[in-house]
Structure formats: structure tokens, C-alpha cells
């Protein structure tokens, strides 16, 4: 009987060990790679508008046209397109990361984590939304 109790404790510790093993998030799936490549390709065009202040980073993990008047009339349509495409990719990125880790319900939390990190990593001079939703220049 004593042996059995010992064995049970061993099993118990094994479970405790496995619980703390989950460390990294899975982000290496073909879907995530595809979205990343698409965003990477778009970044060159978008960064011009981040720098000019025409486009800013929102607090909800998206990008938005902040001041269209900073964009030449001829280019406004294309900026709107870039922003819409970027937000579609970002939504896909957050969704795919949550799904790749077996928790689709994590999507909102993945999004808010990214929102904070995009803003933290934004270059100085770029416009970002603060917690209250107001635009501030970094």
C-alpha cells in the first residue's frame, strides 16, 4: 500500500511538471508565414505614410488613416487600399496564431498583445493611439 501511495505521488509530480512545460507560442505555420510575407511586402509603402503621419497605429492592433490631407489627392485611394489590406492581414495574423495554438478564443488577447507591441516598437515620429484613443506622436 505504501508503494502505491508513492507511485501516486510520482504521477502527481509528472502532471505538475507537464503543466509548467508550455512556454512558447506556435507561430510557424504556413498560414502565418504567408500573412507575414504579405505584410512585409506592404511595409515599404506603408512606412512612408507612418512617417508622414497620414497613417497611424491604433490601440486595437490595426492601422488607420489619421490625416488624409497629408496624402496627395492622387494617392489617397491607394492609401485607403493599403490600410484596408493591412488590417485584413493583421486580423488573419491574430486569428491564425490563436488557431495554431489550439485556442481560437485567444484571438482578442493575441490582438491586444500585438497592439501594445506594434505601438511600443513604432519609430519615433510615427503616430499611435494612446489608451484613450487619442493620437499621439512618438
Amino acid at each position: 500500500m505504501k508503494h502505491m501511495t508513492k507511485l501516486l505521488w510520482v504521477v502527481l509530480f509528472m502532471f505538475a511538471g507537464s503543466a509548467s512545460a508550455a512556454a512558447d507560442l506556435e507561430v510557424n505555420t504556413p498560414a502565418i508565414a504567408a500573412v507575414k510575407a504579405s505584410m512585409q511586402a506592404r511595409h515599404n509603402s506603408l512606412s512612408t505614410y507612418y512617417a508622414s503621419g497620414a497613417v497611424g497605429l491604433t490601440r486595437d492592433g490595426n492601422v488607420a488613416v489619421r490625416d488624409a490631407s497629408l496624402v496627395p489627392l492622387a494617392a489617397r485611394q491607394s492609401v485607403n487600399g493599403l490600410v484596408a489590406d493591412e488590417n485584413r492581414d493583421r486580423a488573419a495574423l491574430y486569428r491564425e496564431i490563436a488557431q495554431a495554438n489550439g485556442h481560437p478564443e485567444w484571438e482578442a488577447e493575441v490582438r491586444s498583445t500585438f497592439a501594445q507591441r506594434w505601438i511600443d516598437k513604432a519609430a519615433s515620429g510615427w503616430w499611435v493611439q494612446n489608451a484613450g484613443g487619442a493620437w499621439v506622436k512618438k
Binding site: L8, W9, A19, L25, K36, H43, V110, T113, F114, W118
Partner: protein, 70 residues
């Protein structure tokens, strides 16, 4: 004796419940790490810094050597 066995089984039950809770809980630190990695790639923040710190361009080690007192 049986009481003890039951007690152990109850303990295992709690631990397993704990495992489930941990898996469902959002891993904020891991998510932040993953976000940083992806943002660096999308914004190409790291590729510029990497050759300097890791592989070492021929120009940089030369400069470092000059600085060394030898």
C-alpha cells in the same frame, strides 16, 4: 489505508484540473515574445542589427581590433 488512497486520488484530480486551467489561461509572456519576433520580421527591424552582433562583418572586427590595446 483506503482513506489515504482516496486522498491521493483527490489530489491527482486537483492537479489535473490545474493543468487544464494553465492550458486555457492565455500565456501573455509567450505571446509578447511571439509578437516581438513577428513585428521585427514584418518591419525588418532585426536584419540590420544581426550582421553586426552575430556573423560579424569583416569591417567591424577590424575596427574592434584597432580599438584593442595590443
Amino acid at each position: 489505508m483506503q482513506k489515504r488512497l482516496v486522498g491521493s486520488l483527490v489530489a491527482i484530480g486537483f492537479i489535473m484540473a490545474g493543468c487544464v486551467t494553465i492550458n486555457i489561461y492565455f500565456p501573455a509572456a509567450a505571446a509578447e515574445k511571439a509578437a516581438d519576433k513577428i513585428i521585427d520580421e514584418v518591419w525588418q527591424l532585426k536584419p540590420d542589427a544581426k550582421p553586426d552582433t552575430k556573423s560579424g562583418k569583416p569591417a567591424n572586427p577590424a575596427a574592434e581590433n584597432k580599438g584593442d590595446v595590443k
